[in-house]
Symmetry: D2
Subunit: 339 residues, 4 copies
């Protein structure tokens, strides 16, 4: 549904041409003719509406979308909160899901040390990158399949579920062999080939918000996955890009509240990338849960000073444990609990 | 303190000219000569450094500021949290300050109804605009001095302290006759004449962050006030302008955590302007306190559907009361309490 | 004129309540009832519409403004380009206005040297700050009234018209005694008291766009001035704040094209602040004129390496002269000429 | 090369620990010890520096990068402008390259009509999407391989070179069979798998700037392609995302001037996506060439009112022809010509 706003000087003939075009496209319309200008409400098949080049019709000032193009992700489609079951571990609704671990998988020792620490503190998921998207081609690009094998071994030993990133449609098969949850990173939020491919997978998908994506675009990206049949999508707010440079990104917790109203899907928060400073991770993790988030994903490293990436924003196991205590207390206030 | 980065192809002669300029300006420098390029650390009087047009010196690629120009607002200047005493009511440190009331003062009845409701729920301050900054000259501009009189009467009857906005240096005197706290709005954060004028006042100042101000510029604005002798500055995060349009602004709670580390001044949060939707005010108020804020400023109207401005983002007294319960519980976790 | 979008689950009763409220407010409405949702077009007095808190009415999802609140600045109000006559020098329409000079007035020698250089190259206006808005209170704040006197002397000797900034409503009188054009800086674009004050002045006003102001807000700021009776407003695009930090601001030349379509007022461009690097001033000055700008304001300093402010972005007289040659050639292509 | 800024209260012991870490990592350093704080310039292997988690070292306030990580794309690596030869058609240096055609390939008739029109007006390249990245899964996704066949036929008949988008690493082979230039779209600018894959191709690559990418990230993305051996990269500025919503994007022509100084690669401009309004395309195309761009990519449709996508921003052949005349005249001023 769109509204077409005619120019002040548009003639009746202009209006007639526009409405004729609408009828030809099989659409219905309602006219509102004010003194200042005429507006035309357009109703009908969304696909037909989406393809109307209304701004080139004569006398049109602009068109305004009044409904969203996503359907399956919306609260209107499904009213109750979606609870996603990852091999027996639930996230969504009353279940707060905690994902933690190092930025990158570096070695078995590093990974097991991180895994046992985060499990001890109460996390249910182990995060860790095997394929790393890096701004420069000269930065560490990850251990690749070897990293996936180490993650599987850490699952074997700790029982934690594995969350890891898949960078490209051609890697979905291999990553799916090891991961419990497929992560789509912020730079790939609108990699539509990748979205369609994980949409055909049977693994839950963690969909990070693009660093300049509107909430609407983010939900449309989730719609790509769901429209291929995979309904197990977890959204993740991880900070957006703004003019402020003190923090690595601007963590948009308002988006959490917005998503809870627009969609039934669970939404978690990444305060590590959302701030870029380990000292800010604890307060922002508390804030995220207070805002109603369904979970957290946190970078924890046994020794941040030796990390191969993102050491600046990684928590020590001790700080992560303090965070978990505070977050648990706040979750109770919002009606959630860490299982 | 700045670092001058020389171009890769800069000659020794270029470096000599630059360092000669530094010496002439009474500054010290340290050279770091790498293979790729030379950098020059510059130390000395900040004012002299600020006036160096280094980018026009020969062979200079750029200069980078490594220290901030503000002093009095910084944690380095004062290590302990500043607690501000507003006629006996404290804010900062362990004292959570709650300011609430209508966007605009409309009538005595409206104001008293709002005031008694927010007082009952636990607020210590009554907010309300007598002079309203509006995007369009055709919107309601406030009751002006009449509004100030009504605020004073509400204080008389309820004991609440009054927070109200001053729009211009010429109005500081009149507003000071009525207000307990002078509010500087987001559009005036860099109205330097106004900042200097309230800096000479003996009233505490609530300094809202500009909608596109960096944290550094915001703290420099506070420095303007403090450098005139008024040390009672309360900072207020109220959302910044980003590409996201679903919310009225993007509430930057990371800035709260940042300010707590950079400055000793109390910082409060305005989730009403920070979201623009009353339904999002409660979750974001919880999140603000969880992030470590020293207080809140919230729009409450006895009947939002009849409000002359900002009805969309105003809470009913009932919802405000629920908010206060939740916020009180979270404050306990961050070591604060509503007095 | 606004469109109210009802929620998908809104009832007929909700719609009835909303339309009853509209009638009570003296407004007309048109219903468009689609399968997915109902929308309501609202027509009538803009002031009444602006005060409707529609989002708190039952069943309302959102409201969307379809018309702008400014009137006097719009192309609909006046179809032909406004040409402003500054003491005999025209700007707007076919007349390209060139303003140039130092960031700050520093001394008579500096000012006269700059003035004679820019006049020789073809500028008609001398710019120069007597009152300087600076981020830090410890930076050079300008020569104040002494600076105004020097500007007047430069006018006396060169015949150039004077453009200089007024920072506060209380300074409009004094600045008006010396200036030919009153400049409102980017930080004061929504200093509504100042806008109203210069709106009562008989001097033309140069209104810089706020660094985070939408085009709509900028035109509304001009409306404040015009609604007080002063129709001689020159708009100035000077770069907006974005995530990009390589340039000081992001010069939004699309805004020039937009303003030419939305408004009859002349719009000029400041490539000095718009880039922050003197090397980028020439290409962006060319681009501005090619985009259809009605003029330029450029920082020129006889010796940028000695400038007290903005030396990095100041042109030498030689470079300014080259710029003028190029700009003159491009102006011919867009149907303009430097008088 | 980075600069480490120590906290004001950092001890000599903190400094010693940091410098010991630097030595262990095989790096050199220079100390600048001011009164206020110590800074440490770090020199050595960029990869080792990139992996230092300096912010978790004791007493460190922050670290600042002073050099860029890209090499092959930089002006320092190659001083002269790169001229790219696309099957005999040159772009870069004095050669202005003009790419034009419909948003999406729709049918043979539509494509041939567009192709012959743009050729007649002087374009050397035909643009047209066979695979379309769309925000919603329900929008037209392109004719896919059939579209590529039509593009090849249009080349056969007109001699125009073909520019078309490749969405995913798995599609590089098929698109390369038909295209003369592989386009990487704005959403894929940091699809690193795709960048590496086209980096191994022998086709020139048109790399659009990401809608929230800094100039530095954009050049690093080009470095990914060049580091795999493909040196034929054409950059394309197409607008960035900002708070302004009147235009579809904010066309950042300052980035063109910046890239010309930082890199030897050609950079072209897309004023169609950069504005979103066909009426703004001509002025912004002129501005782009005036700013020093090496070419343009423009959406032209034989009948914009019937276009399946982006009709609003498409030029008619007549308007495109007018644009070409103006652009040719401006190119002469910047020392370029349309071959």
């Amino acid at each position: 549904m769109i509204v077409i706003v005619m120019q002040a000087q548009a003639t009746q003939n202009d209006v007639d041409i526009v409405t004729k075009k609408l009828v030809e496209a099989g659409l219905q319309y309602y006219l509102s003719q004010g003194e200042a200008r005429t507006i035309i409400g357009v109703i009908g098949d969304e696909k037909s509406i989406a393809q109307l080049p209304v701004d080139v019709f004569p006398g049109v000032e602009k068109s305004i979308a009044v409904t969203e193009s996503y359907k399956l992700v919306s609260r209107e489609f499904r009213h109750e909160d979606t609870v996603i079951d990852v091999q027996g571990t639930k996230i969504g609704g009353r279940h707060l899901g905690i994902m933690a671990g190092p930025c990158a998988v570096e070695s078995l020792d590093q990974l097991l040390e991180a895994a046992s620490a985060v499990k001890r503190a109460g996390a249910q998921f182990l995060r860790g990158g095997a394929y790393k998207p890096r701004t420069s081609p000269y930065s560490f690009q990850g251990l690749e399949e070897k990293g996936l094998e180490l993650l599987a071994e850490a699952r074997e030993r700790t029982g934690l579920k594995i969350v890891t990133e898949v960078l490209d449609s051609s890697a979905v098969d291999i990553v799916s062999q090891y991961a419990d949850v497929l992560q789509i990173g912020t730079r790939n939020m609108q990699n539509f080939t990748l979205l369609k491919t994980v949409g055909k997978s049977d693994k839950p998908v963690l969909l990070k918000r693009g660093l300049a994506a509107t909430i609407s675009e983010w939900l449309n990206a989730a719609e790509y996955i769901m429209s291929e049949g995979n309904y197990n999508v977890i959204l993740c707010e991880r900070g957006i890009r703004t003019f402020e440079t003190y923090t690595r990104n601007t963590l948009d917790l308002g988006a959490v509240a917005a998503v809870k109203s627009l969609s039934h899907l669970p939404v978690i928060v990444d305060p590590s990338h959302g701030t870029g400073h380990w000292k800010m991770v604890r307060p922002m993790a508390r804030a995220a849960v207070a805002a109603g988030a369904d979970g957290l994903i946190i970078e924890v490293h046994p020794n941040p000073a030796e990390a191969l990436c993102d050491g600046n924003q990684s928590l020590t196991p001790e700080n992560f444990s303090l965070l978990m205590d505070e977050v648990g207390a706040i979750a109770a206030i919002t009606g959630k609990a860490i299982p």
